[in-house]
Chain length 171, copies 2
């Protein structure tokens, strides 16, 4: 039986920081730089994010994280992959996330998508996520995908800085 | 720690048979009776169901199953409840299901909603569901909620015919 690999969407497959920067720039002309948001919680880093994530298109048009498509396609041959996204906080994102996955990751079946609130009841052998709140309670192997909000802390998860590093560990 | 109770939506919380009957009647004037669909797969019982479930409003306006609100509110005081719905097959249903839950079960937090394809990765102590495909692989306690499509078979799950019977077993 292949190992079950759980993969987070926002900040792992989808470049949500770039999208928040895009939305802030479109609204105010203010260009937020990555070094400005380092180590800050996302809500602090992007003062208008709470509104932007509820706007149509925020998730649907988010850029794909570099190398995510190629590496996930290769992982798909070896692992049982489930996409697990804490989407329920933003109900307008639900259909957008489904459509985004269909467009950019058509090899992922609808059977293997989980949109939830808490990820605690979802089990697997490996979890790739950028949030400690999801990784900390997970009982099996955890990969912390580097994002500006998580760089200042180390809670003992394996850190990966790119999809190439994920490939080096898991393929 | 409270036990984790997983509850299916369609055919358990939402009266999807009644809704399929309503949609068929609205379209063709044909009044399907419960005794006509006994023991039949839902797709066979409702020839236009595949189209109807993808129409806006099908899930949003589904009737609530008798006594589901009162019993789930009482269960909510005792169990950690997660709503687990295999909604990903019908992407237009995602936001509708969230809104339906908000309207009829406002005491269920968004954190405790899981919309998925396969339910296999979702774990809990008890699962209430009307489909064998979800109950058979579940490792802990299983309650089969009676619906016309599941009456002709017995695969060893505890059968419940109403929410009052759920209450009698779990409260």
């Amino acid at each position: 039986m292949p190992k079950r690999l759980l993969v987070d969407m926002d900040g792992v497959m989808a470049d949500i920081y770039q999208q928040a920067i895009n939305f802030e720039f479109a609204e105010s002309g203010r260009k937020i730089r990555m070094e400005d948001v380092e180590g800050k919680d996302e809500i602090v880093a992007f003062p208008n994010a709470k509104r932007h994530v509820n706007e149509r298109g925020f998730f649907r048009n988010a850029p794909v994280m570099k190398d995510a498509q190629e590496v996930l396609r290769a992982l798909h041959d070896v692992y049982e992959i489930y996409i697990v996204s804490a989407a329920m906080e933003f109900p307008t994102s639900l259909e957008e996330k489904y459509e985004w996955l269909q467009e950019h990751f058509p090899f992922i079946s609808w059977k293997n998508i989980i949109l939830c609130g808490s990820k605690v009841p979802v089990t697997g052998d490996i979890l790739i996520d950028d949030h400690y709140k999801n990784l900390d309670p997970f009982v099996n192997r955890t990969l912390l995908f580097t994002q500006p909000h998580n760089t200042k802390e180390d809670r003992g998860h394996e850190r990966v800085n790119s999809w190439q590093e994920v490939a080096a560990l898991l393929l």
